[in-house]
């Protein structure tokens, strides 16, 4: 243990020992409470507490907090420690506030002042502590407070190296938290880029990360870094490991810096300057060569460090995608790794090869390894490696090897891990359709797929089978034949029954002349399955029967008898009952010609992108979290009986995807709404800086939105306003493969005694089937203007575990605004009439999104009021009007939004006839542009 002189804090060690000796949770709690009482007394009574004691007690509090207990005092003492001139006291103070303090702390200004003092001090150790604290907390206030100090530290000639390292990363953190408040002087660009050349490799290592982020923001401004990065890289990879004493790690010179530099270069296309380009190619060549040299050490650290650089170099080669010799060399190298003893290397090689397979230069080279990859599928012990093998087979598949690969994947599917079956099913379905030369082969594969993995066949998959059959007249009789055969199996998966039922209903006549499959046999065979099926499937089969009446009038009486049967005609399932009744009536009253028209075969589907690809991509976004605001979960599919591919869930879903509505946890600072409204959510999206057009108030600008989502449940809302009443529909989607039961949903008001809203919800179904969704309708009536949102509470059982979800229902005031049209005279007349101070509210705020005129207009219209043209003399400005309806009164609202593109700011002015409404609306809109 290091020498610990004055800071040993014996009392802390004793306390920690005591806690460790506690035999039970209760004993631990008692000991902690005793300590808390003691500390509280000390803090309260002893005005003369010295720095050491304060430090010790604050440190104990920290320890208690880290054990998982709440700490509600000691903050002031911790902040006091910041102004101590002893390092150990300062360190504990900074540690405490970095770990415990949340951003809303009212001591924020005091803390910022202390940090500023330290940053401006001459003591590099204190500066470093302060910078580390800023990097750890790094919220919006800090970004604003230090927007000048920290960049200056970074580029100043006087700053010592360790401080530069911290300053660089501190700046990176502030850039991530609050890019708009961090305005870097362009004069500094060159100096920041030149940090890549810094003599101190640690400074360069830290700086690359910052530069990488700045490059992503303004690639042109930082283009100069390419040249410097290439030359720095070149100097490292061509040198011997002995040249970088401090930075050599197991005989590899500066591996982390190399990796970061290579990644930096992945931001740009291949360098245009031929000399830089050839230098870069030499570097990559050298790295590939080194991979072939004998290892300098048997330690895995040596080969890992070397291969870390190698894999990153291969990534860059793939990214540039222009040097075929490098691509092929990379592929050969990865091919060697496929046979390596190290599981890690086999895994990474499979992963990288997936990318290589997409390049035309290396696609053929990758295909040479098909057999090895198939072997990996069969023999790897780690499911994640097998998963990579599946991905690679999918990526390397083309017309020449599709039959083999699909066959191998099908074989593997029977024993595959449950976790990857659904994705495999999708992949097989896509490949067999994409590369089908003969659609009979495709159908064989698909039916086999349903047979061996029926549970994992999502709706999109079997819908697609039907679409293909409907669209290809040449396979329809074959489809009817094999569907009929498939039904003859004693145990038949329900998905198979759906497909077969649908196909026979359309094309059963094509095989009816065969004595083995006469109309009556088809009907009876299908009917043996009928009672085993779920209501949705039975509804589908009823439609098939109806179609049979048209195709085979000779069995009409049998079918009518089924329809008339109590289990259908009086079924407790509404859908079945309705179909049975309607179909029966239809068959009784319609002439054969009318029936033939009504029950005509389905017309071909319009050809568009296969929904399977959409589905696969929807599964994928998890992999691209950092670059896009895409959805990160599989969609919820409806439980319906036909290949209708749009429904509300999907519709909502797609909308969400387009608008990139995901709220990222990274920005909780700016995003209080997320915290309060969905604190119980598993963030299926804890992704970071998404630049997509997004807003953090859900349902604000749209009439339908996803208002809650976690791994289990997705809740969508649709609203249709009618004056003071909003008709709402909630969609609860079950994302799991299990039933959700005992569902109950309720909405409570912020103030029950004096309600501002009158809410009426229809009862909701208590069970949601796997991957299905249910709907609940209701109305929300606005009685008077309100600020606090109602709370939605949901409880249900998932795998017998009770779950509870509470969140604020984002039904904002604007939902009750009806747009109003008027001409310029009228607008200004009304504007002038609303001139009392509490009728107006003005906000000036910075633009959060790219300042697009159209996007602003869309948002304003989505907000509910009008977007009037030709009112303001300045065409860039927006004006409009609306009427806010409550059941008791109508409130006129006018607004004017003035963008200032130079300053990247907006000024929003709202006037409303009722006091308080204008300011509330302004608060809703502030920060949304």
């Amino acid at each position: 243990m290091p020498n610990m002189r004055g800071d040993a804090m014996r009392g802390l060690a004793v306390f920690i020992s005591d806690i460790r000796n506690c035999k039970s949770r209760e004993a631990e709690l008692r000991r902690i409470n005793k300590e808390l009482t003691n500390i509280r007394q000390r803090f309260r009574a002893d005005k003369t507490l010295d720095g050491y004691q304060k430090k010790k007690y604050v440190c104990k509090l920290l320890f208690i907090f880290l054990l998982g207990h709440d700490i509600d005092f000691g903050y002031m003492e911790a902040v006091n420690l910041l102004s101590s001139n002893k390092y150990t006291e300062k360190q504990i103070g900074y540690l405490f506030i970095s770990v415990i303090m949340n951003s809303s702390s009212d001591m924020k200004q005091l803390i910022i002042q202390n940090i500023r003092n330290d940053i401006q001090s001459r003591n590099p150790i204190f500066i470093n502590l302060a910078l580390q604290c800023v990097a750890n907390i790094g919220d919006r206030e800090m970004a604003t407070a230090f927007t000048n100090d920290i960049p200056r530290l970074l580029v100043s000639g006087d700053t010592i190296d360790p401080v530069k390292q911290s300053a660089a990363l501190c700046l990176l953190k502030l850039h991530r938290t609050s890019p708009e408040s961090l305005q870097l002087n362009t004069e500094w660009t060159a100096r920041i880029i030149h940090l890549l050349n810094d003599q101190h490799l640690g400074v360069a290592t830290a700086a690359v990360s910052l530069i990488d982020a700045l490059v992503k923001r303004s690639p042109d401004e930082y283009k100069g870094c390419v040249n410097l990065a290439v030359s720095r890289l070149s100097r490292i990879v061509t040198s011997s490991y002995t040249d970088f004493q401090d930075y050599t790690y197991y005989f590899v010179p500066a591996p982390w810096l190399c990796v970061k530099l290579l990644r930096l270069l992945e931001n740009y296309p291949p360098p245009e300057d031929p000399s830089i380009r050839s230098r870069l190619n030499e570097c990559l060549d050298t790295i590939l060569n080194k991979a072939q040299e004998p290892l300098k050490s048997k330690k895995v650290q040596h080969s890992n460090a070397r291969n870390a650089v190698l894999f990153e170099a291969i990534n860059l080669i793939i990214h540039m995608d222009c040097e075929s010799s490098l691509l092929v060399r990379a592929c050969n190298q990865l091919g060697q790794f496929l046979q390596n003893r190290e599981t890690n290397l086999r895994y990474l090689a499979l992963e990288s090869m997936c990318l290589l397979a997409a390049s035309e230069f290396s696609h053929e080279a990758v295909k040479k390894h098909q057999e090895t990859v198939i072997n990996a599928l069969k023999s790897e012990r780690d499911v994640s490696v097998r998963q990579r093998a599946v991905d690679l087979l999918y990526a390397m598949c083309d017309r020449s090897n599709a039959e083999d690969i699909v066959q191998e994947m099908l074989t593997y599917l029977e024993t595959a891990d449950y976790t990857i079956r659904e994705e495999m099913v999708l992949k097989i379905a896509i490949l067999s359709e994409k590369y089908a030369v003969d659609y009979k082969w495709y159908l064989d594969i698909m039916l086999k797929l349903i047979r061996i993995a029926g549970d994992f066949v999502s709706e999109e998959v079997w819908y697609r089978v039907i679409q293909v059959v409907v669209n290809r007249a040449d396979v329809q009789s074959y489809a009817a034949k094999i569907a009929f055969e498939a039904l003859q199996a004693p145990a038949c998966h329900e998905n198979m029954i759906k497909v077969a039922g649908y196909i026979l209903g359309e094309y059963g006549n094509l095989i009816a002349l065969d004595p083995r499959s006469t109309p009556m046999i088809q009907f009876e065979l299908l009917h043996t399955k009928y009672h085993l099926c779920s209501p949705t499937t039975r509804s589908l089969i009823l439609s098939t029967y109806m179609k049979f009446i048209n195709l085979f009038p000779e069995i009409k009486l049998h079918i009518q008898e089924i329809l008339r049967h109590d289990s259908n005609y009086r079924s407790s399932d509404v859908e079945i009952q309705q179909r049975a009744t309607e179909y029966l009536r239809l068959s009784e009253i319609c002439s054969p010609t009318v029936l033939a028209t009504v029950l005509e075969i389905m017309p071909p589907y319009p050809e568009k992108q296969s929904p399977l690809l959409v589905r696969l991509k929807q599964k994928k976004p998890l992999m691209e979290a950092d670059t896009s605001g895409e959805l990160s979960t599989a969609p919820i599919s409806q439980s319906d009986d036909g290949p209708k591919l749009t429904d509300t869930a999907m519709h909502l879903h797609q909308q969400q995807q387009q608008n990139g509505l995901l709220v990222s946890l990274d920005t909780t600072e700016s995003n209080g709404h997320y915290e309060t409204s969905a604190s119980s959510s598993l963030p299926s999206s804890f992704s970071s800086s998404s630049t997509a057009l997004q807003t953090n108030k859900k349902f604000l600008f749209k009439n339908s939105d996803i208002i809650f989502e976690n791994d289990i449940l997705q809740i969508g809302i649709k609203g249709e306003p009618k004056k003071s009443v909003l008709h709402v529909e909630f969609y609860y989607g079950n994302k799991t493969n299990f039933n959700l039961t005992n569902l109950s949903a309720s909405i409570s008001l912020a103030d029950e005694l004096d309600p501002e809203l009158r809410i009426h919800m229809e009862p909701v179904q208590t069970t949601i089937d796997p991957r299905a969704q249910i709907k609940q309708m209701g109305t929300i009536e606005c009685l008077k203007d309100y600020r606090d949102l109602p709370k939605m509470s949901l409880s249900f059982f998932y795998s017998n575990v009770p779950q509870k979800i509470d969140f604020l229902l984002p039904v904002y005031l604007n939902k009750f605004i009806e747009k109003a049209e008027m001409d310029s005279n009228n607008y200004f007349l009304r504007w002038r009439n609303l001139d009392k101070p509490d009728q107006e509210c003005q906000k000036i705020f910075a633009a959060k999104f790219p300042m697009s005129h159209d996007a602003c207009g869309q948002k304003l219209e989505g907000f509910g009021w009008s977007n009037l043209h030709n009112i303001d003399v300045n065409a860039d400005n927006f004006c409009g009007a609306g009427i806010f309806h409550t059941s008791a009164q109508q409130v006129g609202c006018l607004y004017r939004l003035e963008p200032n593109k130079q300053a990247k700011m907006y000024r929003l002015t709202i006037r409303a006839s009722k006091a308080g409404v204008a300011s509330h609306l302004a608060e809703l809109l502030e920060d949304q542009f």
């Binding site: 002893k86 360190q91 640690g202 401090d246 990644r263």
Partner: protein, 142 residues
């Protein structure tokens, strides 16, 4: 970018939790439990990488302790795997044959070590010599 660093023992006790994103306290607890459940079931023949929500965990086991780093999916696995080892070697040197108890009793120093080597979710300093020199300087201060 590193999202968080966790050191846990086999029983699931957390010995270090360093967060580089703003999570709610409940969420942190959930993440800790999920990571523990995820890595402790894997055996030595498995890879040191495992997908985790929309990120991945790069981890390595040292005696009874799991060192886990959560990073973005497209981050360099091996670079972070060795960043763990580099960190462990520094701890080992700093605490002279580090053991689990050192991390418990000196938890506040472990944070200092982390801040020297990782900052804002990025690798700050990789030279063991430089880090240890700095830590020795700090230890000698009052």
């Amino acid at each position: 970018m590193i999202r968080f660093i966790l050191i846990q023992n086999r029983a699931g006790k957390t010995r270090l939790a360093k967060w580089f994103m703003n999570f709610h306290d409940d969420e942190k607890q959930k993440l800790i439990e999920e990571v523990h459940a995820l890595v402790t079931v894997r055996d030595a023949k498995h890879t040191n990488f495992v997908e985790f929500r929309n990120f991945k965990i790069v981890y390595r086991r040292y005696a009874g302790l799991y060192f886990c780093i959560c990073v973005d999916v497209n981050d360099n696995n091996l670079a972070y795997l060795e960043a763990i080892h580099n960190f462990v070697e520094v701890l080992n040197e700093f605490f002279h044959n580090v053991c689990e108890l050192d991390l418990v009793f000196n938890f506040y120093k472990v944070y200092s070590v982390v801040d020297e080597m990782f900052l804002a979710g990025e690798i700050r300093e990789t030279s063991q010599i430089k880090v240890l020199k700095q830590l020795t300087t700090l230890t000698s201060l009052e």
